[in-house]
């Protein structure tokens, strides 16, 4: 089932908020080889930021745990991003994906999944209570003229 990637990278870091900017920048750097437009690059960074922040804020609310981010370049100029935590898990994924739904209090707006959906082409959320959450996103980048390889 898993499509073959022509290149991939995996990052693993503790769930500290200072790593949010790092994860965005690292994924953007990796995606640069796909020759994305500036808009595409910003969309990718935003989606990474939402998923990584969720892992940090909701996955591990009271502890520091590991966050995994994987980026893969798949056939058809598709970027696949996976953000995984082994934290608290989501009791009802369909409900969690609704706009404005949040368990995060006044510092959250409940728009993270909505933004990921709108900035990427595909969003899959797998979660098990007490075991963690895996978010997979795909985005097809516009074909661009390339001067050979």
């Amino acid at each position: 089932m898993k499509t073959k990637a022509s290149n991939e990278v995996t990052l693993e870091f503790p769930s500290r908020s200072s790593n949010e900017g790092f994860a965005r920048a690292a994924v953007a750097c990796f995606a640069a080889q796909m020759d994305p437009t500036l808009n595409e690059l910003e969309d990718i960074k935003t989606a990474v930021s939402e998923a990584v922040t969720n892992a940090i804020v909701h996955g591990y609310p009271e502890s520091i745990g590991k966050v995994l981010v994987k980026a893969r370049i798949c056939p058809g100029n598709v970027l696949e991003l996976t953000v995984k935590d082994r934290g608290r898990g989501i009791p009802d994924v369909d409900k969690a994906r609704q706009p404005m739904f949040t368990t995060g209090g006044e510092e959250r707006s409940g728009m993270g999944f909505t933004i990921m959906e709108s900035f990427m082409d595909q969003l899959t959320v797998r979660s098990a209570l007490g075991r963690g959450t895996t978010v997979t996103m795909k985005k097809k980048l516009a074909p661009r003229m390339k001067a050979g390889k």
Binding site: S17, G21, T53, E106, S109, M111
Partner: protein, 101 residues
């Protein structure tokens, strides 16, 4: 993330500088509330010209500012929004709730 406050005649302008993400915004809500409570403005302008990146953390901040200003019977305006932050606001349809210029 840094917030600069300027106020005159019950107009308060807050200029945001830096990344408005969860990490950058962790003290921003408190700073915003303190600035509003000190100035008790009629008009609050959130100047986004210095925002280098924004995600949903910025949306929460804007919505809290709006609620705070509603209590004071005042207005909020979000101004000078860079392109990336603008797309985030649009994806969340925040323009229906807050004035964006």
């Amino acid at each position: 993330m840094e917030i600069q406050a300027k106020s005159a005649d019950r107009n308060l302008m807050l200029t945001f500088i830096g990344d408005l993400d969860h990490h950058g915004a962790r003290n921003a809500l408190r700073e915003l509330e303190q600035a509003v409570d000190a100035a008790l403005p009629k008009n609050l302008v959130l100047d986004m010209s210095g925002v280098t990146f924004m995600d949903s953390s910025g949306i929460a901040l804007i919505l809290r500012a709006q609620q705070r200003m509603q209590l004071l019977d005042g207005n909020v305006c979000v101004c000078n929004v860079p392109a990336q932050a603008r797309r985030v606001l649009d994806a969340a349809a925040i323009g229906r709730l807050v004035t964006i210029k």
